[in-house]
Amino acid sequence: MSYNLLFQKIQKWFIRQSLEHAKRTIFISISLTLLVGYGMRFLIIDDDLMKMLPKNLDSRKSWESIQQEFGSTESIYIAFGNKSKSVFNKKDLETSWDLVKKLRKLNSVNNIINLSTITRIDNVDGFLEIKQLQEEAVLNKTQIESIQDYLNKNLKTKKKLVSKNESFLLTIVNPNTLRGLNYFRDDVVGVCSEVLVDYKIHYSGTAYITGSIPQLIRKDVKFLIQIGLVIMISILFINLRNIAAVLMILMVIVFSLTFMIGSMGWLFRFTGSDKFLFALLNTSMPIILLTIANSDGVHVITKYFKEIRFLKEPKKALVKTMETLHLPIFLTSITTIGAFSTMAFSPLEPLVGYGICISLGIVWAWVLSSVTLPALIILQKWDVESKGLRTVSLFEVLIDRLSNTVLKYPKNMLISGLFIIFISFVGVWSLKVDVNLSSFFKPGSEIRESMDFMDQEMTGTMDLRIRLEADMKDPSILKKVDTLQQFIEKNELITVTNSISDAVKQMHRIVMDDSLVYETIPNEKEKINNLFSMYSLSGTIDNFSTLVNEEYSSGLITSFSQVMSTNQVFSFIEKISFYISSKFDNVSIDITGMIVVIRDMVILIIKSSIMSILLSLLFVILVASLFFKRFIWGLLAVLPLSGAVLLNFGLMGHFGITLNHITAILSSIIIGVGIDFAIHFIAQYRMFQKNNVKKNLTRKTFKETGYPILLDAASNMGFGALLFSSFIPVQFIGGLMVFAMISTSFGTLIILASLMQIIKKYILTN
């Protein structure tokens, strides 16, 4: 059986289900939607940058082994104080003590570092003293001065825990890995708001941001869906002028959304895979499905209205509508699914889940538009004489005028369109890739302000971790580590580095009567052994657990930096890698941390974007060529959206919008959503061709499909809702998608229509 025959059989079955078993069809659709939608309760919102990386990526593997060996490096940084007032006073230090006391009681907290938890090593009259830097809650003037003196002698410690102008104190809190970071964040913030009432508080660190994002995402998605729906309903109502029609389209949208989110929950429930976590980049998912589901509904309703206007018979009008639209709706759905499915090949984990779940949502939107929507239409009593059904809308008038202009001057139109694309495309050379989290939040927002504060006043929160596998008591290794730290610190954005070498140098100085001459790595291994043994008898050896493992067979160098641009990240890592390979022979070294993750993300995003564009275009060409039975149709189908993709990346370059893991999905969305217009246009053209319409073929196609295309694009202005997101990249997606809808719809109606008009002889004769 040819696929044409099979398709016709399916089409007839679909129409029969809608017309003859309308109520049953609706009941089954509702039941299935509810069943899958129930999976929502298993949905987990999590935006851990590390979980986005492939599990076999070196930086992720190193990061995981560091977490196991040296404890969690994901922290919440709490800076509290009052501007222009020194924190070295009785009250602030007592508050810092109380904060630790309260934080220790939390189950979600594993480790706390601040002035009241760290130890000091002193040589007092030949008496080696290792004790708490802050020994009690309430301090007198002498004790406070002593802490200040010690910190001024040990600037690395001071840099880590006190702000530049000494007006803020920093507390670093590490989580217990058993509970989610959002619980950890909520617990910590809860305690801080209780203890730090009189202070200005800045929170930062990956654990805080990752822990805060789920709440922000939840708020954002809810808000965006509401705005998206308002925009869409308004546009639909203005044009369709029929409440029942708008409600039916709304039902398709809501059911598809429920199905998509539910299936994401079920998939997470059954696979437990990070791919199905709802991350920041998934925020755009509901709005995108909303517009896709809307497209199908709009095409069905507008076509039905057009048919009923002429046929005056609801059943006949519906059969005609569905016979015309089943193929294009099927094709638009399958090509959109194809475009999004290419994300399944993305090296970035959440993009895989994104692609799969949105595809499931599209499948359901297709089923609902093809079966359930017609069933609803047939059950509704339509007033054929109503204004909405009887009169043409504003868009239909507009389309009439546009078709006259485009088809009168096809060459001029084509050249103008291509020229605009070319001019925009030049911007691609200015396109930058940047995945730095700080740029995701609006300037002035709480998170952004805190991140900026940490950068300007404290050590910054971008980290670089270098793990060495070597004898960490060997003087030659410790000396190399020391020189590597000096090399890293040459970068002016690096604020502080820390390793076991620092501790050894400090202990050596103290043992040698606090003489600065001895703040060096001893030459003999025996001396280093003695220093460690001395510390283990007089200090808590656990203090070194973030610097060396228990066997001293591996060590960790930690560096903090202010925000680095992508270019700075690449050049910095390249320099360090070169230094390490030239200075460390026979030592196994892994480099990871946020700085390396950013580099890897950039590489993966570029790879992912290129792969997604090529694969989805290829898929669309193949499917369109197959169903329209000629390769030329495949090429013509991708023409408007290829233009839109070039236009999009060009504009991103022109307007300084960076490519990141969130905006990387744009090309898939543009192809997935934009292909619909071209397919509807070509399908109608082919239908006229099949029915032997020879005269004014392009014009008739233009008039027949122009209105739904325009209405579809206009109602897709729901993408504009994304402009109201709290996340800057999501806002960019909103703006760019609004533009992409205009460019793909007009690309179809101007470039594709004018080109088909120019080459119509070739199309018709072959």
Binding site: F127, V511, S533, S538, D542
Partner: protein, 251 residues
């Protein structure tokens, strides 16, 4: 009348229980202890990933371990390091250390009780001698361990002690009054450590032969085996001097 009888019964029975717990504690704390003790300690530390570190030390102590000197024999990298501890009642303890590679004796600060000894699961509080007047005792229901019934004594440190523990629950042998197992709870009341003790009778003294401490929270464990145990060798107080730190005694 019934009410009065009930009240009297409760009062008297609680007094008996209190007496019992006190008596048991008294039996534990007044057990005879040798004047001096010499042994070799083999300390095995096992972390949560089953990685093992071994130490061998020689120890001499007098006055219920209040004066103690420890020489490190193994690992080789630590050989020669030694450590002198003198506990004082009313002032900070004295601690001195010999660093052979630097040829220097360094006094080190008295430790926070909660800190661990040499990275082991024994804190300095675990190692120091407990004084009966620093604790409140409760006798709990007897417990059966490996078919034998033991007293279960709860010891709650008094506030003045500034202990790092909330309480200890010890299983006490009903005949020898040796503690054979102990559960120690942290300040949040969560179980922190499980300790097991084995004793050897030497010259009428029950001397510790083996200790196993398991830190329930970080899954780290420490085992100490005492060998070459000798008691009452007439070790003089003068032995606990800086001079003796520099040389590992032959016996």
């Amino acid at each position: 009348m019934v009410f009065l009888k009930t009240i009297s019964f409760i009062f008297v029975s609680s007094f008996i229980v209190a007496q019992n717990s006190h008596e048991i504690a008294l039996n534990i704390y007044t057990k005879q202890f040798p004047d001096d003790l010499t042994n070799t300690m083999n300390m095995k530390l096992v972390n949560s990933k089953n990685k093992i570190r071994n130490y061998t030390m020689k120890s001499r102590s007098i006055d219920k371990n209040r004066k103690q000197i420890i020489w490190f024999l193994e690992p080789k990298s630590d050989r020669g390091i030694s450590f002198l501890k003198i506990e004082h009642k009313n002032r900070d303890d004295e601690m001195k250390m010999w660093l052979p590679a630097f040829k220097k004796i360094r006094r080190i600060s008295s430790r926070k009780k909660g800190d661990s000894f040499m990275g082991s699961d024994l804190s300095y509080e675990d190692l120091s001698t407990r004084d009966m007047e620093d604790y409140l005792f409760n006798l709990k229901e007897d417990q059966n361990l490996n078919g034998k019934i033991y007293y279960t004594l709860e010891s709650i440190p008094k506030k003045k002690l500034n202990s790092f523990y909330n309480s200890h629950v010890s299983l006490v042998d009903k005949i020898t009054f040796n503690i054979i197992k102990e559960y120690s709870y942290d300040l949040n009341g969560k179980l922190l450590k499980e300790k097991e003790y084995t004793y050897k009778k030497i010259k009428m003294f029950d001397t510790l032969e083996y200790i196993k401490v398991f830190n329930v929270q970080n899954k780290h464990s420490t085992q100490i085996k005492f060998t070459n145990i000798e008691v009452n060798k007439n070790i003089s107080e003068d032995s606990f001097s800086e001079q003796n730190l520099k040389r590992i005694p032959a016996n």
